[in-house]
Amino acid sequence: MPLALALTVRIGLWLLLAPLLPGVINKVKAVVAGRRGPPLLQLYYDLARLWRKEVVWSTAASPGHVVAPAAAWVALVVAAALLPLGSAGAPLAFRGDALLFVYLLGLARFCTGLAALDTGSAFEGMGAAREVSYAVLSEATVITALLALSAQSGSVSLAGMFGQTAGAGTLLLAAGLFVVLLAENSRVPFDDPNTHLELTMIHEAMVLDHSGPPLAVILHGAALKLLVFAVVLVEAVLPLGRLSPLAAAGALAGSITLVAVGTGLVESLMARLAFRRVPLSLVTAFLFCLFALIVAWRGDA
């Protein structure tokens, strides 16, 4: 298959399937609470509805208010295109693309924070400050997890790191990456996505003043980021590279659904952590990945 076609199909798959994950999480939360909950395709309907609305601007905002969410979305799409999917590998792979992956995620967060500060409102600035202060610890964790995978597999490219046989530190890595998934995607116990109190918001506060298509782009980007982290978690743990293509695709889909169900269960069964206790849990996730790195490193020597 020529590269352009493969890339288009790959990216189309990511864009189309990303909004399913928040739907699964909300359905699980509703079932645990004894309700029927919103339909699984709710985010698709929301995105279609938002696309038809007009943009309402803050008087203090510059054009960066609309450009920044688009830039963040493009960064997330490129980061998703870099990831290998099961045994299909990655269409664009080169040495050191793991570093580009981390920086693209950082760029997406930077653009979202910039758009938040651009509105000139206090709530957005507060949300942006909280988000980036958690990002210090969660990005360190992601980098350590990628280092552990690189030490385990001996490769500096994402396509070589994932899909390897499970090492001794796999359980530690899985625990650390799951906590990072919850932190980066603003899930309980780090942030409650259903809160309506602005002073308690972190990620939702950053998007308070967006409306219409930019908000749709931000919501889709958030769903894409959740899918990216779920794929990273599943591929770091399961040795998908050794299965046949169909079995690998099935295992990938099943495990991602399992991660979404797990996230929904954690959201339903746990309370949100007080702000002063969040650095401790992020440091714990960092130490999980650090010990996975040391196990991978020491296991070689």
Binding site: P279, L280, V283, T284, L287, L290, F291, I294, R298
Partner: protein, 213 residues
């Protein structure tokens, strides 16, 4: 066998960090209890044949460290009516990072020390050093007397791990000595904590630093 021992010792080292990060006193007591049980069954994995004395000491260690001493500490906890360490002298995050650094340093140090080949691949020496340092961090970094007692218990667990190196040549001397040591110490500390609680109506050891009529 080495893999199972490394798994158990690795689990004990993880429990160290769990106790350092925890602010709730019941969970710190339970962590020290589980750690005592885990290292109590280690001699059964080291020795290839099962002697009666070995089994007796292992069962005594598990019962005393895992059930009797935690029961005494829970009774003291109920009498003192507290369940949380509110303001430690050394913060939770910093003590967790120091404990993790000590665990990593212990593993590095364990590879530099000259040991017999069969001891070098087991995590006994690194686990012992890490547990001693983490127990010590708990002992000096916290203000509540019960946490300090749990730190002391973890310290003794670390020394016990070190003593397991001598299991082949001087069987169970160190283990039995530590068991006696811990039992007597806990009884004495229990009496002392009762007196502190009656006098100051609190187990915060910072109140002991003030001379008062």
């Amino acid at each position: 066998m080495t893999d199972w021992m490394n798994l158990l010792i690795g689990f004990a080292m993880g429990l160290n960090l769990l106790a350092l990060a925890s602010s709730r006193l019941p969970s710190i007591i339970r962590t020290a209890a589980v750690q005592g049980i885990v290292i109590g069954i280690l001699p059964l994995l080291i020795e290839p044949e099962l002697r009666a004395l070995l089994l007796l000491v292992a069962i005594a260690t598990v019962v005393i460290k895992g059930f009797v001493i935690p029961a005494l500490l829970f009774r003291a906890l109920r009498a003192a009516n507290i369940d949380r360490e509110v303001q430690p002298l050394l913060g939770f995050t910093i003590s967790l990072l120091l404990g993790a650094g000590a665990s990593i340093g212990a593993v590095v140090l364990g590879r530099l020390l000259p040991m017999r080949p069969e001891d070098a691949e087991v995590l006994l020496v690194p686990g012992a050093l890490a547990t001693v340092v983490c127990g010590f961090l708990l002992l000096i970094g916290r203000a509540k007397a019960i946490t300090q007692v749990c730190g002391y218990l973890m310290l003794e667990n670390g020394i016990y791990l070190f003593g397991l190196l001598l299991l082949g040549s001087v069987p169970l001397l160190v283990e039995a000595g530590i068991l006696l040591d811990v039992t007597v110490a806990i009884f004495v500390i229990g009496v002392v904590m009762d007196h502190i609680q009656r006098e100051f109506d609190s187990l915060d050891t910072r109140k002991l630093t003030v001379l008062r009529e």
